[in-house]
């Protein structure tokens, strides 16, 4: 298929960016979106132009690196997938595709489609862990009974890959689905109880400090999340914070 691409080009973090139009031809519908971007970049390199910078790593939907806001949606029009899993069969011959970086003040653009998502790492560092002795006499995690329901819910929350699609798609650039998932995966397990109050307070404080917006419960994040993280995690985080402040 032949496509017209409108891509955000920005030389560096301080430069003023703009949308630039490109044409790509003979794109196979079996290609992934990133492979299509590879074709474009090869074309640009061959013609002596600067290739489009974009994030990617595992290309199998688990690392959370590939971002891109494609035709007005985080990771494009498909559901439950990252950009590397988005296939060109989702588009038609002759389509014009708009490709932008994830937009949020807390995700500043570094170059073209690459954004700085280290704000997520700082939120994790603020409390997204449990303190255990790992010096060789660690207790077997299975020695503590955990209900199947709690284990399943904790696992569902833990599948968050921290890609930032929730922030990108939220009209308020809120990070609450991400933080809710990270708070929940520990709040549901006995190992997470000791630091539960400090965790939620510190992670929410860091989230606010990073300049993310506030959740207005539109539910867009849940729909666009490639891992199907549920809004229930935001509700749980709210409960955890209220509980922590009542202590």
């Amino acid at each position: 298929m032949n496509l017209t691409l409108k891509i955000w080009r920005q030389k560096d973090a301080n430069a003023k960016g703009q949308m630039v139009e490109y044409k790509v031809t003979e794109i196979s519908e079996h290609m992934s979106f990133l492979e299509m971007m590879d074709v474009l970049n090869e074309q640009l390199v061959n013609s002596g132009d600067e290739p489009v910078a974009f994030d990617h790593d595992c290309r199998e939907g688990i690392c959370g690196m590939c971002s891109m806001y494609i035709n007005g949606e985080a990771h494009g029009p498909d559901r439950g997938v990252t950009t590397c899993q988005l296939h060109m069969r989702m588009f038609k011959d002759g389509d014009t595709i708009t490709i932008e970086p994830f937009r949020a003040a807390a995700f500043p653009v570094i170059k073209d489609l690459v954004v700085d998502r280290t704000s997520f790492e700082r939120i994790q560092q603020a409390g997204g862990y449990i303190s255990v002795n790992t010096s060789g006499n660690t207790q077997d995690a299975n020695a503590i009974p955990i209900s199947k329901h709690a284990a399943d819910e904790a696992m569902d929350a833990a599948t968050c890959i921290g890609c930032g699609a929730c922030v990108a798609t939220c009209k308020n650039s809120s990070a609450m689905l991400f933080v809710g998932a990270k708070v929940s995966q520990y709040a549901l397990l006995p190992q997470g109880q000791v630091e539960a109050a400090d965790r939620v307070q510190n992670m929410v404080a860091q989230m606010d400090l990073e300049g993310f917006g506030n959740c207005t419960n539109t539910g867009a994040c849940e729909i666009e999340c490639p891992k199907g993280i549920s809004l229930e995690n935001i509700a749980r985080m709210n409960r955890e914070l209220m509980k922590a402040n009542l202590k």
Partner: protein, 225 residues
């Protein structure tokens, strides 16, 4: 707890608490107004009680005014903060792909409701305050009869005003269609009860504004005939 209400989640909770209060008030307001359709005498008596009871006038009325002002002011503050969380807008954004129009436009439906409240205050609240607190007339009477039902009917003579009220109530319906469940979600309502909450929310959001529309239209035509 002071720190809690300064956090993003604390502000969500504050919005939800004020929303619960306003939704309860709306229900109470509707329960009284619907009496005007079924029994003008009962409507007059209840209106007189509400308008002259010291606890309601000096206790609950200021709380209500505070609740309304707080909900709007906090709504504006959060909207401004949320706008500043994305400095550059998307060239193409497909909002309808993942969320409802009502959830994305709470600020606009809210602003329309604010405009309606100004009209509603000019229509009913300011004259009421003037009669009681400026003129000092707490009798509730006009020509020897209770004035409340008569005043209500008089206001709905104008088709323009009835139209404005109908439009405002439709926007209130849209605001509540998202706002009801959103308030519960902010308070941490669990997924297990989500479906029930959504159904109750839809019923509340449709029945109450629709009821107010029926009352306005009923009095418009009832008076003409």
């Amino acid at each position: 707890m002071g720190g809690f209400f300064k956090s993003s989640i604390g502000r969500k909770v504050a919005m939800a608490l004020s929303a619960f209060f306003l939704m309860f008030f709306l229900l109470q307001h509707f329960a009284i107004n619907i009496l005007s359709v079924f029994s003008p005498d009962t409507f007059n008596e209840v209106s007189h009680f509400m308008g002259t009871n010291a606890l309601i006038q000096y206790g609950l009325q200021p709380v209500l005014i505070f609740g309304v002002v707080f909900h709007f002011v906090m709504g504006f503050i959060l909207e401004l903060k949320n706008k500043s969380a994305r400095k550059i807008s998307y060239a193409k954004n497909h909002g309808a792909a993942n969320s409802t129009w009502t959830s994305r436009n709470m600020i606009w439906s809210g602003l329309a409701i604010l405009a309606f409240i100004v009209l509603h205050f000019i229509d009913f609240w300011f004259p009421e305050i003037n009669t009681k607190f400026i003129e000092g007339d707490w009798s509730g009477l006009h020509d020897g009869e209770f004035r409340y039902f008569h005043e209500l009917q008089e206001k709905f003579l104008s088709p323009v005003r009835v139209g404005a009220y109908v439009v405002a109530f439709v926007l209130l319906m849209l605001h509540l269609l998202h706002g009801f469940t959103s308030a519960f979600q902010s308070m941490g309502a669990t997924a297990g009860r989500k479906k029930t909450l959504q159904n109750i929310g839809k019923a509340y959001a449709i029945i109450i504004p629709l009821g107010f529309i029926v009352i306005a239209i009923y009095h418009h035509f009832n008076h003409i005939h």
